[in-house]
Amino acid sequence: MNSDIKREELLISQLADLLVNDKHVAVGAASPIPGAAALLAKEEAKLNNKRLRVTILHSNKYNNFTDGARELFDCAAQGRIDTFFLGGVQIDGQANINLVGTGTYPKIEKRFPGSFGSALMYFVVPQIILFREEHSPRTLVDQVDFISAPGASDENIYRPGGPKYLITNRALFKFNKNLKKFSLLKLNQNQTIQDIKELTGFKFDISENISDMLNPDTTRLKTLRDKIAPMVSEFYPEFTNRIWGI
């Protein structure tokens, strides 16, 4: 077994750690790393005699829905999904996310695909994990140009869900709902707090128990490479080919 741990493997492992208390994790479009993390967490739950259900929309086999494309949203609104992943062209310090584009809407300078289902999912799924590999002042900004979904809402708005974590290539943040602010929780290897401060466009707190991201142990790495990678190749063949050569 190759012991050089890849960046993607570390992220998958970090994400899997956040799913240990879940019963149902759903993964949206174009998300190979969250997809692999969810399947890994499911496999490890089995060993602990627990059940974790994983719905991967991009897959046929791991797509648990039969009521059409709206079922993801209905299911989430019913409170039946514990964790979902969202990304963003821009993410700001109040956890507002922008999937639409840069510039002053509707006069867009650079247009991206659009908001997908974020404007509902962000409100109703208890644990939303923001996932954006690129960690730069361009992606993590002080204020997003367009709010696809707000990080926080007024008291009279129905909102059982919201942002819990933000993970990038360089760091893991926890979102503090009351302060409406991120707090730096973990650093990727070779990153310093100073690095992160320079590369982050918004102000954040530093957690008291800040630590390094730990590499997956041998057992987990073996599960990931031997069992999970082939599963992921069903629906993300390009990704698994690039990372694991399968």
Partner: protein, 273 residues
């Protein structure tokens, strides 16, 4: 007399009128690509695309070909192959109007038409810039004493009726029922559309309703105005459960469409050869 209308693809294309609201299925529910190319070749203008909830190469091609004036969608993207270049450029230079939405809102607006009610409520969305820019949406205080919270603002979305829906499916039976499997968003689209046409890979000489399980996989012919056989009609998109996407071709398109010239060359080749 046959129990449904078998049409030529040309006849279906001719049903689409300039300026109409066209229903556009997502990449997982049977994209009618062959139909789309013929529509472009015909020189259709001023289409209003309603995507449930997104579009990929179909929307990008129509936009790049100047067929679209307005698009309502939660996303336009080439997925693994990046941004939809003709869409992005058209939005950036203001040549099309994009009504930005979010997936559940696009479903709910059609469900309102499905039930013939003027609006549907939706949770979430409030406080987003999507909502702020949608003048056709409105917010009321929850008037329902027996459910929810009284001072809660509730978003209402208008019923949207499509003029015409065209999608591609694997097969139809001898009575014009269409096999859609679990792609039930196609039923919502059909229920909310004035006219529905389907291209299929083939006809099966069977009746899906003879068996309760096969009945469960079909969209009843009563919603369908005409069917045409078009082999490989979703290519290069996937037909779920039948054939996968031709990723090589979509990648080729994604590279070509990065420039207007590259797009024009690609379309000339794919429409006239």
């Amino acid at each position: 007399m046959k129990s449904f209308d078998e049409l030529s693809l040309k006849e279906i294309v001719n049903e689409v009128k300039d300026g109409c609201i066209l229903g556009v299925p997502a990449d997982y529910s049977g994209v009618p690509m062959e139909f789309t190319k013929r529509l472009i070749k015909k020189g259709i203008k001023d289409l209003k695309l309603y995507c449930l909830p997104l579009t990929t190469i179909q929307g990008d091609m129509l936009i790049g070909s100047g067929c679209v004036s307005e698009i309502e969608a939660a996303a336009v993207t080439l997925g693994e192959f990046g941004l939809a270049p003709r869409f992005s450029e058209a939005v950036e230079n203001g040549s099309i109007l994009i009504k930005d939405s979010t997936c559940p809102a696009l479903h709910a607006q059609l469900q309102a038409t499905e039930k013939s009610v003027p609006f549907m409520p939706l949770r979430g969305v409030i406080g987003s810039d999507i909502q702020k820019h949608r003048k056709d949406w409105c917010i009321i205080e929850n008037p329902m004493k027996s459910s929810g919270v009284l001072n809660e603002p509730i978003l209402l979305l208008p019923a949207v009726q499509l003029d015409i829906l065209v999608f591609h499916a694997s097969c139809a039976d001898r009575n014009g029922n269409i096999q859609i499997g679990r792609r039930r968003e196609l039923a919502t689209l059909a229920h909310a559309s004035k006219k529905v046409f389907v291209t299929v890979e083939k006809f099966l000489d069977t009746d899906f309703f003879e068996d309760e399980l096969s009945a469960a996989t079909c969209l009843p012919g009563l919603y369908i105005n005409g069917i045409s056989i078009v082999k490989n009609g979703a290519w290069p998109c996937a037909l779920p459960g039948v054939y996968p996407a031709d990723n090589k071709e979509i990648k080729k398109y994604s590279l070509a469409a990065k420039t207007k010239q590259g797009f024009d060359d690609y379309m000339n080749q794919s429409l006239f050869i």
